[in-house]
């Protein structure tokens, strides 16, 4: 499986772990984060890509942690 597919699989696996009643809120925050990173990308030089990736994971974890508890 290529990296992109693997990452998509990971996102959907964590989404599945969010309780049903919190999925909508999670999704809204996830979409906001996603938009923010798409916008940031244009201003990010290639040497900062690694940091960009880790920063996204960090923010994603915070959202996941906020909504994963039932």
């Amino acid at each position: 499986m290529n990296q992109e597919k693997e990452f998509e699989k990971f996102l959907n696996e964590i989404f599945e772990k969010i309780p049903e009643d919190k999925k909508q809120a999670f999704l809204e925050e996830y979409n906001r984060l996603s938009k923010e990173y798409d916008e940031k990308f244009n201003e990010t030089p290639p040497e900062k890509y690694e940091e960009f990736f880790f920063s996204f994971l960090d923010n994603l974890f915070e959202i996941y942690y906020k909504y994963s508890r039932g």
């Binding site: 499986m1 990296q3 992109e4 693997e6 990452f7 998509e8 699989k9 990971f10 996102l11 959907n12 696996e13 964590i14 989404f15 999925k23 909508q24 999704l27 996830y30 979409n31 984060l33 996603s34 938009k35 990173y37 798409d38 940031k40 990308f41 244009n42 290639p46 890509y49 690694e50 960009f52 990736f53 880790f54 920063s55 996204f56 994971l57 960090d58 974890f61 915070e62 996941y64 942690y65 994963s68 508890r69």
Partner: protein
């Protein structure tokens, strides 16, 4: 094209990665297989539940595992911890090792009340690193040595209780990664 269709509502069962991330992933060296990210998230989630006062973020955790030097020190620390029969000299050496590790880890609050939580955090990381690297033998003697260390550092019963919860957590992580091929964590 960077922009991708986002999910308009929760009824869509799948979510898409941001287009930017798809671009980035193909161009960087990621120091762990993406297939282990779910486990890492779950580990860190459980860890944060047990130690809510520890202010360390997920990025820091990944950075620790991406840093060979820290991993080497953690392994050395763990080996020392699991084999030593503690006396005052060895305990002093252990403190020196802890301090050296403390300088390397991105942990912001090493003062007073959080010192023991910090020790527990390093012990957990050492154990996890050792599991991942494949040198870990989770036996009774090792756990007893952990406890001995915490007691020698002045841990109260509450801290020891937390420590035992941590041991259980490490056991689960150990089961998660298994023994068959411990190095697979770092394989792509």
């Amino acid at each position: 094209m960077i922009e991708k269709l986002r999910n308009p509502d929760v009824n869509k069962t799948r979510i898409n990665p941001p287009g930017a991330l798809s671009e980035v992933i193909g161009r960087i060296e990621i120091p762990f297989p993406l297939s282990r990210l779910v486990e890492l998230f779950r580990f860190f989630e459980e860890f944060k539940n047990k130690f809510p006062d520890l202010e360390i973020n997920f990025r820091d955790l990944l950075r620790i595992f991406a840093d060979d030097k820290i991993i080497r020190h953690l392994k050395e620390f763990y080996e020392y911890l699991s084999t030593a029969i503690f006396n005052s000299e060895k305990l002093e050496n252990l403190k020196v090792k802890l301090e050296a590790l403390g300088e390397m880890l991105p942990y912001p609050h090493k003062e007073s009340g959080q010192a023991l939580a910090y020790v527990a955090f390093i012990v957990a990381l050492a154990a996890l690193a050792a599991i991942i690297i494949g040198f870990f033998v989770f036996d009774v003697a090792a756990v007893q040595n952990f406890e001995k260390l915490l007691r020698a550092l002045g841990a109260d019963e509450e801290t020891l209780k937390k420590f035992n919860e941590l041991v259980e957590l490490i056991r689960k992580i150990y089961q998660l990664f298994g023994l068959a091929d411990p190095l697979r964590f770092f394989k792509r």
